[in-house]
């Protein structure tokens, strides 16, 4: 409803416009419930006392709130360990991926290189390449090196998607920094390296941080490589731990613990996401609209 419409003498259009808005709002609320209720149910169920879990029919909200499931998780599962491992793996994989792509994005927007088209296609190909098709080549590579378990192979394997993704997302941030700014610094006597570090990098920083957080989330959520390289007790990361807990849910782990583990895995994503929500939209569109 804008001012012009409100002032118009035709009240009919106004009423029709309002009913339409209410209709849109109602539809949007339904969509939000469909998306949100399952996650809300998981969250409240993680605070249920054990008997609540097996009440027939199940109730949405707990009869009383307890942290028992979280205590069990800390005491008898290796979620705490997996959480720390996960933070380590995702940070390192994102650091490597983003670090390497800063160089790529800078040189690609500052220099005219032969075969730029080929380079763009290459990024697109590697970005699209499904993980399952990388499993055999990458696993056999680590097999030959004799390291098939642990954080080291997982970090380097995750670079296979953090790198192309960050080039894909970060390029537009670098392209938006005017060439003149660097040129001005260099006229004033700065070397290209100084101009890069003192002029370009500070300006690209928001984009770099947003990209880092996004690749962190991608790596945190990744299940396939995690189940292959991080399946032992000591090397487990959060998603491979979730898979184990879910697999043994009927036996060793209770549904309460499963739900609590789900909450623990989602909270970091939620917090990081809150920081970059605005950038996230830009990052997605850079990929889709220009693709």
């Amino acid at each position: 409803m804008n001012a012009a419409q409100r002032l118009s003498p035709q009240k009919v259009t106004r009423v029709r416009g309002m009913t339409r808005s209410v209709g849109y709002l109602a539809a949007a609320v339904v969509i939000m419930l469909v998306l949100g209720l399952p996650l809300l149910y998981m969250t409240v169920s993680s605070f249920k006392p054990a008997p609540d879990m097996y009440r027939v029919p199940p109730q949405f909200f707990p009869s009383s709130w307890t942290l028992q499931a979280y205590q069990d998780l800390v005491n008898i599962s290796n979620i705490p360990r997996a959480f720390l491992n996960g933070v380590m793996v995702s940070s390192l994989a994102s650091l490597l991926g983003v670090g390497l792509s800063i160089g790529l994005c800078y040189t690609n927007t500052r220099f005219r290189l032969p075969g730029l088209r080929f380079f763009t296609y290459l990024i697109l190909l590697v970005y699209i390449l499904p993980h399952i098709l990388l499993v055999i080549p990458i696993f056999t590579l680590w097999l030959q090196l004799g390291i098939t378990q642990g954080i080291v192979p997982l970090v380097f394997t995750h670079v296979s998607f953090t790198l192309p993704f960050s080039v894909w997302m970060m390029r537009s941030y670098f392209a938006a920094i005017p060439l003149d700014l660097e040129a001005a610094a260099m006229v004033d006597g700065a070397t290209r390296a100084q101009a890069f570090l003192k002029v370009v990098m500070p300006l690209a920083q928001p984009g770099i941080i947003a990209t880092f957080i996004f690749t962190f989330i991608l790596s945190w959520n990744e299940v396939l490589f995690a189940s292959i390289f991080a399946s032992s007790e000591s090397s487990m990361v959060i998603s491979s731990a979730l898979r184990t807990i879910l697999g043994e849910q009927s036996g060793f782990y209770s549904w309460g613990m499963v739900n609590a583990a789900g909450v623990v895995a989602t909270v970091p994503v939620l917090i990081l996401f809150a920081f970059i929500q605005r950038h996230l939209i830009a990052g997605f569109t850079a990929g889709a609209v220009k693709g």
Partner: protein, 325 residues
Amino acid sequence: MEETRAAPLTAAAPAKRRNLASRLGITLAGGGLVQGSDLRMMLILFLPGFIILVLLGTYPLISVLRLAFERRSLFDTVGTWIGIENFRIILQSPLFWEALVNDLVYTFTTVPLQLVLGLAIALLLHQNFPGRNVFRGFLLFSYVVPTAVATIVWRFMLSDSVGIIYYGVRDVNLGIPNTWFASTATAMPTVVMITVWKFFPFMVINLLAGLQSIDEQLYEAAKVDGASRWQVFRFVTLPMLMPVIAVVTLLRTVWTFNNWDVIALLTDGGPLNSTQTLPLMIYDTMFREFSIGRAAALSFIAMMVLLVAMVGFMFLYRRTEEKLQ
């Protein structure tokens, strides 16, 4: 490379353009020569990432092609050449055909459903109503929820011992089968439903961005010409949105056909292989049957299916684009 090297060296080009960088075809983006020290810095920044990307783009195909013709177990470091034996075994196995059909069914139900739902919701969120930015933010959030968590939630809600939906459907008697993951008839539809739930926000986010980039003037021109709402959608919105639709459909098709985690965590291919797809078969062949050679042959087949699908898709896209204009 030869051509770019020769071009600036013709007689017309001034002699000062002959430095190492320009002979390699490298110049500044704003025009001008690259100095020697700058070239060194450029190469240091460029090459490490570039080499990794080239390896990622080429090595998997080469490696898979080599391994596909070998008999080799997960515990061997060398294999023996056996020709097309792996492919013969795979193509003769009924399980492979079952997995291929399942995979095609899975892909060509979830992707169109996501697209239609995504387009409808993107159009809705493109309208002006109070609180729409909150909804957009929420949609993005649901897209970044880990897949493993999404599968936990649904297995919990549909479980036949504790599931809130399971007991709800049983007590209310909606007349729909209440077997979910447990029967061969309902397992695939259930997996499809959850996949659509998890991934349609991706469609909405991208289509919404596409809608926002359409020039307002086009809508105004259509209004002046007296176009109906449907005509505006059909002759303005849809054609302008086609490039985005094409990209998201292609991406989701590739990723759905090769999706491992959703199905692996929900059903692990069961019951009785009713949700077994090629990615799960590749994983099982590799890590449960320990046969690298056959897993590689399967990967190669999946790559080829993908290639055919992409070419077919490009062809279809061009046809649709012609029709719409």
